[in-house]
Symmetry: C2
Subunit: 204 residues, 2 copies
Amino acid sequence: MFSNRRSDDVAAPRAGRPRSETARRAILDAAADLALAETCVPTIDAVAARAGVSRTTIYKWWPSSAAVLAEALLDRFHESIEFDDALPVRQALTGQVDALVRLLRQTPAGALLRQLLAAAASDERVARALLAQWMDPRRESAAHHVARGVAQGDLRADVDVELVVDALFAPVYHRLVWGHAPLDADLATRVCDLVWPGIAATEP
Amino acid sequence: MFSNRRSDDVAAPRAGRPRSETARRAILDAAADLALAETCVPTIDAVAARAGVSRTTIYKWWPSSAAVLAEALLDRFHESIEFDDALPVRQALTGQVDALVRLLRQTPAGALLRQLLAAAASDERVARALLAQWMDPRRESAAHHVARGVAQGDLRADVDVELVVDALFAPVYHRLVWGHAPLDADLATRVCDLVWPGIAATEP
């Protein structure tokens, strides 16, 4: 549903689309492979070498290696925000929170996100890339299901969609960033159980 | 109520307590003053010079300038977690979330926390100091009021205290760290309104 959105973030080249799509694909794969193998933000040179492209080609589309990596991670883990509208809203939202928890528990994505957030604290371009390439698409997907819940009468008509998305996902990111409590396997279910009474439509 | 706790985190010197207390006080004040004036983690040398102590004196008690700053910030803003047991539980918890929001809106504390978190991503000692000196005391204070609410029958007996504290405070830190949405002046009230139905005891 959101899979067409990402390529719109980058100006499409006027000609040679197939070849540049191949290059973009190779760059994203190289960045994700290198980062996940070594749990650190790869250099532009390393990504260029692995993808078989020039540094100039990468800088044509991304301002920094952190920006490449943010998009590469979203791309690599995109299925974690793909939940069908046929699912009940609560199941879709719990599933999306759970997919994030599993991503952070089972892959180096959590450690990489911490490094990208650390870079974002002192580099506004990284902060913007991280929002645009990682957080915004994930939030949009969750907000879509919250809005669907309101439209279907499952959720209160007056819910603050942005705040509901925060309430569902913030505890997971909070534990990742501060490390004060574990990312338990059942964390998503417990968070959704806690939040649900505050957003569910009351019976008429 | 928690004000006696902090000094226990550091081994009390066997003799000369008054003089070392004066030095500790001067170091914490120097670290907070420098950090808040310049919105960056001060160097050990700068803290030592301003406090009129040697580097050795600082390293006797803290492993790094980030650790000094974490404790200095907690110390400087300690009133933001001091809520009286005479207050109704919901008012005490909302007040504590609101005090955090105001701290992040109105002082450089938020920018400093982002820098400390960035340092923590690559330095486990900073991560531990930040938890011990900033987050743990704040969470303990909130957990105290949650437990009080359970004891008084205001909150469900089966609440997960740690998760409730996450649910109340994580959205605030989440917006600070990612910057995807503003730290609105009424954020604390909205978060507490959203969380409350999930934790309030149902009428018998």
